[in-house]
């Protein structure tokens, strides 16, 4: 227990503070009112002086060398000689968890830095008047700044792009894929009443469940092509089986097969329990033949990509913003060299000039970069780009933001993290200012 101050002798305050400017200031303010002071410059010195000097109160900084203030407080409270020493904690940390921990340990007052001189005196005087009065558990030193409460809510009319599936080739599952997700390709654009989907990989199952929540309406689904990883979720698209929904599916005929057959041939009794005739929604299949589509004020246009079969890139334009969806495209087919050497007039670029013009300056580009050069050597002509070649495309088309999708099923989260760093490094080397991120299942991007 601290001894009572002798007659005419002001109380002794121990100041534990490693920053000299602060300890000088605190001691100066206290001494100007007649208090006696002593200074400890680290946690260990503080414990020693608290024992030796029996101060009447301790001004304790939390972040100190050798022993931090929280540990000092614990030791003071567990030592019978110092357990009732009044403690004023001085901290720059305004975090609720830290404050709660301090209160649990037993403090008399808390001062949040930076502080005014008057605060030092107020806290010390309050502490000495009632040394046994600890801060109650419910009390927090953090107070909201007086103002009207600002509670914004999401504007439902704001356009957003959602990625429901970002994996290529085949779905994957397991903890190694948890952050990027394992569903195959699907994305949506929603704005007010409009809901437009792209591709029907396994990700469309989640997109369908989400679409049910807003009740029956007209949905539009644009298919880039009919490879398994882009159609395999179609039979699991719940709105197909709900009366009241109207669904228009857009795409191109294949080689020798109609577009409708490409989409529904996986729904025969041999492959799946439901068939085309089990749809309860009103479903249309519309062959595009290169024509753009207008849905209200939204315009969706298309051009071909370099991918086996008939494969489309889509560009959606709405309210002056554009986003392009190109999950499968082998840019610079067979090229394994440095992308710095690729110019707009390069022989390898010319065949994809229409695509380059189509993608020029979009706000958001969703495009793949599936392979490393080492992986690509055995997969030339499979319809997918290397990271370097995709970076060359980004340099030539200058999107504001590039979201990389169609992650290889062999690339787990750790590998994709490194791949993204490499992508950024290549882009920087090319002088591109495009922002690049990896898409993941559930990702939302406001346009």
């Amino acid at each position: 227990m601290p001894k009572s101050p002798a007659r005419n002798l002001k109380p002794l305050i121990l100041v534990a503070e490693d920053v000299r400017a602060l300890s000088l200031r605190i001691t100066h303010v206290l001494e100007s009112k007649g208090y006696r002071t002593a200074v400890a410059e680290d946690g260990e010195a503080c414990l020693a002086k608290a024992q030796e000097l029996s101060p009447h109160a301790l001004f304790l900084d939390l972040m100190m060398p050798r022993l931090n203030g929280m540990e000092v407080l614990k030791r003071l409270r567990s030592n019978p000689a110092t357990q009732s020493l009044p403690v004023i904690v001085c901290t720059a940390k305004g975090f609720v968890t830290d404050i709660r921990e301090l209160i649990d340990l037993g403090v008399n007052e808390i001062v949040i830095k930076p502080f005014e001189n008057s605060t030092i005196l107020e806290k010390v005087e309050a502490c000495l008047q009632d040394p046994h009065q600890l801060l109650p558990p419910a009390r927090s030193a953090i107070r909201p700044v007086p103002s009207e409460v600002y509670s914004p809510s999401l504007d439902p009319s704001r356009a957003k792009v959602t990625l429901w599936g970002t994996r290529g080739s085949i779905p994957v599952s397991g903890p190694r894929y948890a952050r990027h997700g394992g569903n195959t390709t699907c994305a949506s654009y929603s704005c007010g009443e409009h809901h437009i989907l792209f591709d029907a990989g396994s990700g469309i199952r989640e997109a369908g469940i989400a679409a049910l929540q807003n009740g029956p309406r007209h949905l539009h689904l644009f298919m880039t092509h009919a490879h398994w990883d882009h159609v395999q979720g179609f039979p699991f698209f719940a709105p197909l089986y709900v009366p009241g929904f109207e669904i228009t599916v857009y795409g191109e005929d294949g080689f020798g097969q109609t577009f409708e057959h490409l989409m529904t041939s996986q729904m025969d009794r041999d492959h799946f329990p439901a068939e085309r005739r089990d749809f309860r929604a009103k479903v249309h299949f519309q062959v595009l033949r290169g024509e753009p589509v207008s849905i209200g004020s939204i315009k969706v246009s298309q051009t071909a990509t370099n991918h086996p079969g008939v494969t489309q890139a889509y560009k959606l334009k709405h309210r002056g913003k554009t986003f392009a969806f190109v999950p499968d495209n082998e840019f610079l087919q067979g090229y394994l060299g440095d992308p710095k050497h690729i110019q707009p007039e390069s022989d390898l670029v010319v065949p994809q000039q229409p695509l380059i013009e189509f993608l020029q300056g979009v706000d958001v580009l969703i495009h793949e970069a599936q392979y490393l050069a080492s992986e690509y050597q055995g997969k030339i002509g499979w319809g997918h780009s290397t990271i370097a070649n995709a970076c060359a495309l980004v340099r030539l088309t200058a999107p504001k933001k590039w979201i990389v999708v169609h992650h290889d099923p062999g690339h787990d989260d750790a590998f994709l993290d490194e791949k993204l760093q490499l992508t950024r490094q290549i882009l920087r080397g090319l002088g591109s200012t495009a922002q690049v991120v990896h898409g993941y299942d559930g990702m939302t991007e406001n346009l």
Binding site: V19, A21, L24, R25, M63, A92, N117
Partner: protein
């Protein structure tokens, strides 16, 4: 019309006087500034050279604590930014911010020396 300033003011004398309310205390703080700021910047530099981000965070925290007594917003904010970058462990950002902090502390030292001469 005043000319636009290339840098924000390193130090606000009026705020400094209001904060400390005492000339003797002001003099004491001004006297120790050079020595203490050099020590703390040295601690930051050595921690960063070792890529010891915990030590860097502690040193930057102490520096920010010190600067909070000098009504020196640019230097204080630079040191706070250094604390945050130390937590993020981004070497490149820490280097940039330490350089910025050194610059601001040097600017502040010049401004404080001028202020002390007028006291």
């Amino acid at each position: 019309m005043a000319e636009p300033q290339a840098f924000p003011q390193a130090f606000d004398p009026e705020q400094f006087q209001n904060l400390l309310e005492d000339e003797e205390l002001m003099r004491r703080l001004l006297e120790i500034f050079g020595e203490d700021s050099a020590k703390l910047l040295q601690r930051c530099t050595e921690s960063l050279n070792r890529e010891d981000y915990t030590a860097l965070h502690e040193a930057a925290h102490a520096l920010a604590g010190m600067l909070s007594n000098y009504a020196a917003l640019p230097a204080y904010e630079a040191s706070r930014k250094l604390m945050l970058h130390a937590l993020s462990r981004e070497l490149h950002l820490c280097r940039l911010t330490l350089a910025e902090t050194c610059l601001e502390v040097n600017r502040l030292a010049v401004a404080l020396a001028a202020f002390l001469r007028q006291l």
